[in-house]
């Protein structure tokens, strides 16, 4: 896998796609037609080669109205199905709008799945607004900014999360905006964890 980093995007060339990568590629190919989205959390580390699997891919989509959501629902349901409910109105009103994520898997499968939610906090909206473009072979993805992803993983604090944070920092340390990273460490009170496990 060849890797390059610019101010505009990150590029991965000749990446050998795993089954999970292919699942993400195909799903996002439909999602991006209808929705402004950003992939957050575990898959961000996996995308760049972290050696672990994941049952779900976490995504924020920009808050929208039911009619727009229904267009996405109809398109995505041609190949995938919502695990929570088969009713789009219920998915929108009782789940998404109530800050409960909805999950989509391939039909008659359960795992892996996309966990989709609306941004709830200012932090979530910032993540969507400042998303990073990643060009992978012949497709593109949007991921959360690494300067937030690393402290946020530390904030979550499980062994797996700390390992993800360390992997991302070691991979991107020559390219990361250190002052932004430290600002998020400050805000999330993860400075000590950063010094202990990441540096």
């Amino acid at each position: 896998m060849e890797f390059s980093y610019t101010n505009e995007y990150i590029e991965l060339k000749n990446k050998e796609l795993s089954k999970l990568d292919t699942f993400v590629k195909n799903f996002v190919g439909i999602l991006e037609k209808d929705m402004d989205y950003v992939i957050i959390s575990g898959y961000v580390a996996i995308l760049f080669g972290r050696s672990r699997n994941s049952e779900d891919i976490d995504v924020f989509i920009k808050k929208t109205g039911y009619d727009h959501f229904k267009v996405f629902w109809d398109n995505i349901n041609k190949k995938y199905e919502c695990i929570n409910t088969k009713n789009p109105k219920k998915a929108f009103e009782e789940y998404l709008s109530d800050n409960i994520p909805i999950r989509f898997s391939r039909k008659n499968e359960f795992i892996p799945n996309f966990e989709i939610k609306f941004p709830k906090s200012e932090l979530d909206r910032w993540t969507l607004d400042k998303k990073i473009k990643v060009l992978v072979n012949d497709y593109k993805l949007f991921i959360s900014p690494l300067e937030l992803e690393i402290p946020y993983k530390l904030y979550l604090g499980s062994d797996k999360d700390i390992e993800d944070a360390r992997f991302l920092y070691k991979f991107f340390k020559d390219y990361i905006d250190d002052s932004l990273l430290m600002e998020f460490n400050q805000k999330l009170k993860t400075n000590e964890l950063f010094d202990r496990f990441i540096k």
């Binding site: 779900d56 695990i83 800050n99 409960i100 994520p101 999950r103 359960f110 795992i111 709830k120 906090s121 200012e122 932090l123 909206r125 910032w126 400042k130 904030y155 979550l156 905006d177 932004l180 600002e183 998020f184 805000k187 999330l188 009170k189």
Partner: protein
């Protein structure tokens, strides 16, 4: 770059809620697995 305000109390609440949803997901996955394997018998 202007960074967002972070309400740590709200974030902690969100973390607990996410964990609760994760546990519910596991329950539903087990139900689905059992249902699926029963069909094959």
């Amino acid at each position: 770059m202007r960074t967002p305000n972070i309400d740590l109390k709200e974030l902690e609440k969100q973390k607990k809620e996410n964990f609760k949803q994760r546990l519910e997901f596991i329950d539903n996955y087990v139900k689905w697995l059992k249902k699926k394997s029963n069909k094959k018998i």
